[in-house]
Point group: C2
Chain length 403, copies 2
């Protein structure tokens, strides 16, 4: 008999009129040799990566899609870990049988980034040199380093060429990086609500978040493991982040100047406006599920991200790209605004690369990519179907040529 | 013989092709009885207010302008306190002989808000009930309370009707409040880069700043006077504020992704991007000149500000207004965006109140109102000249009727 909660889960799983991938399990794969050579000049070994897969790899191994997660995401993109889970994976509305990333057709893979705190090697992991958690001895990792590590996982899974690499926000940065770093290793790229380089304003918000963490007395140079954690600093950092994920318009519609649990102004420093309560709740909830040092490392990776670094221009960065691209932005996203997607699209077009660009009207701000949207669903589903058809056609041609 | 620094000062004073008000002195006026009755239900007494005046009040006392300052401002709007001062007052480019607020024609007054830390009574002042600094025993003050207190000062100065009340940002809120609270006590209002109510997003940014301060271990419930101050928290709050004062476009132009004092990425957590150094500098500089508790009180006053509170609409809020208005916004200001100025203008027009609205093209974001702008200078100078002419004409009529 279904409990109320299970009914809720079922309800959530039916979002988009499709079904759930059901119960899933996080898997772990560790490599040590050769060590991962990082952009910053140091190496990392051993490297454990937490990942999940959904759907089946077909016989010709041409239907695998790698989804990259955003700042606070993890490998758990869809389904449930236990029947009691109240919430499914972070992009369950998009990943499952009959959903845009259709697990009845495609094998979907998602992997926690290195530097993370959701099962992959990061600053909370044990430093083999000391037997203690790395803390700030963990090397700085870049978006490229995260991608490198995931390429090893894809090789390990025996997949030569992905049908697609896809991601929103930081995940989109990784998809773009993969497509220029390993041009032959993906047939297509879905870059959603993202940018080819973090802007000065983006760096500024991240730096303020880092300062909030590092100025928390509990942070202690990053060596807080086993002690009180810098929760106040991390909560403030998360609150700042949350403001940038919403839009002015959405905040006005969602909260306005309404009061929380009060009939009148309190004339004190309690969180009395709904928007204040919301942010405090988000900040405090985050503290329970995220490591402050990982917040430092991942925001730093985002800040370092510049696809054109070492090139004369973004145009040159895409010169070797062989894939086709779907670039999507949202009108009210002011963290990675549409003009930044257009910079990507212009550089791709200038290289003669097949690119579909879509700016989706939305009031939800940057968060829009995580929320139900028919425009987004249709764009992803249609793009993947076309790419898969072409890949299969080419596969048949190659097979007949080979005979 | 002029030193280099004096030459720099002179150079600064010639901004806008006009001259400086020269050396000025902050004055202080204290009232105790009746105590100030605050919106929150408590009273405040005694109340000291720091203020400065520039130019001469004319015989008919119709040429006085009250300028209200913004969050981190003070009474020192123009000129120098000593010949050694490196910087003039905060709006020296707009206030002086021959400048838009022309001290050859008008008497300009500026007063530090109550709750402030620049000479007026605030949380760092001695609580007469305890002999100790108020700290968080200081009552919450609103924009209306600040305005009430300044009305007492204007009465004390013997001015019945100001030629204008003017301000940018929070100063604009005070100007709007004055015009509805004391409709007969100002002939005109200049509301620049401001809003009739702080938005959910505005409240959110302020609340994160307050959380940064209040979660600093040194804050100690606000009782840090004479001890280590919560400088890390205040610096983070100021950094957040600064991001909202600039625009994405301006940050890109001013900083981009350029590095500070480094040839290459450092792969560490130092502030290495120029924008990071800039923000850290701004945060740390602020700590030396501002009181953290005042930051709490003033941001709270801004959050409480809603000109339509207790009314059915903004339209009703302006019903009694008798003044004429100049409302100015800046295209790239996303803290108090143009649509918020337009809400004010629509409500004024609906009441049949003479209103000039100007949206000035600028890439400087909210900070634009503090920076040189011919559009802004011309609008202020022209508006004030017109208002003054009408006031003088009406004055002559009244005088001749009286004979």
């Amino acid at each position: 008999m279904a409990t109320d909660e299970q009914l809720k889960i079922d309800e959530g799983s039916r979002l988009g009129g499709a079904h759930t991938v059901g119960l899933v399990e996080t898997q772990y794969w560790t490599f040590a040799d050769p060590p991962l050579a990082l952009d910053g000049g140091r190496t990392l070994s051993p490297v454990t990566q937490a990942y999940e897969t959904y759907g089946q790899l077909n016989a010709v191994r041409d239907n695998a899609i790698l989804i990259f997660h955003a700042l606070s995401g993890d490998a758990h993109v869809a389904g449930y870990h236990t029947p009691e889970d109240r919430k499914p994976g972070w992009w369950d509305i998009m990943v499952g049988p009959g959903k845009p990333f259709d697990t009845a057709k495609y094998m979907v893979i998602c992997c926690n980034v290195i530097g993370g705190c959701k099962g992959s090697t990061g600053p909370a992991s044990v430093n083999p040199g000391t037997g203690q958690p790395y803390g700030l001895d963990f090397p700085i990792v870049t978006i490229g380093d995260m991608v490198q590590a995931q390429k090893r996982l894809i090789d390990h899974l025996g997949i030569k060429r992905l049908l697609a690499v896809a991601g929103g926000s930081m995940g989109g940065m990784m998809a773009l990086d993969w497509s220029t770093r390993y041009p032959a290793a993906a047939a297509s790229v879905l870059a959603i609500a993202t940018t080819a380089r973090n802007s000065a304003q983006g760096i500024a918000f991240n730096e303020v978040g880092r300062q909030a963490i590092m100025s928390d007395a509990n942070w202690d140079g990053g060596s807080y493991y086993g002690k009180a954690v810098p929760q106040a600093g991390l909560a403030v950092a998360r609150m700042i982040g949350h403001i940038t994920y919403l839009s002015d318009e959405q905040m006005r519609a969602k909260f306005g100047r309404r009061l929380q649990d009060r009939a009148a102004l309190g004339y004190d420093f309690q969180a009395e406006f709904e928007v204040e309560s919301y942010l405090k709740y988000q900040g405090n909830a985050f503290v329970g599920r995220f490591d402050a040092n990982t917040y430092l490392y991942i925001t730093k990776a985002i800040d370092y991200f510049d696809l054109a670094a070492g090139k004369r221009s973004l145009l040159e960065a895409f010169e070797g790209a062989k894939t086709e691209y779907l670039v999507i932005s949202f009108t009210s996203d002011w963290l990675y605004p549409t003009y930044q997607s257009k910079e990507i699209v212009r550089a791709l077009h200038a290289n003669g690369i097949a690119t579909t660009f879509l700016e989706i009207p939305s009031t939800y701000g940057h968060d829009a990519f995580l929320l139900p949207s028919e425009d987004l669903s249709n764009a992803i589903a249609g793009f993947l179907a076309n790419v898969h058809r072409r890949v299969q056609q080419n596969g048949r041609k190659e097979a007949s040529h080979g005979q």
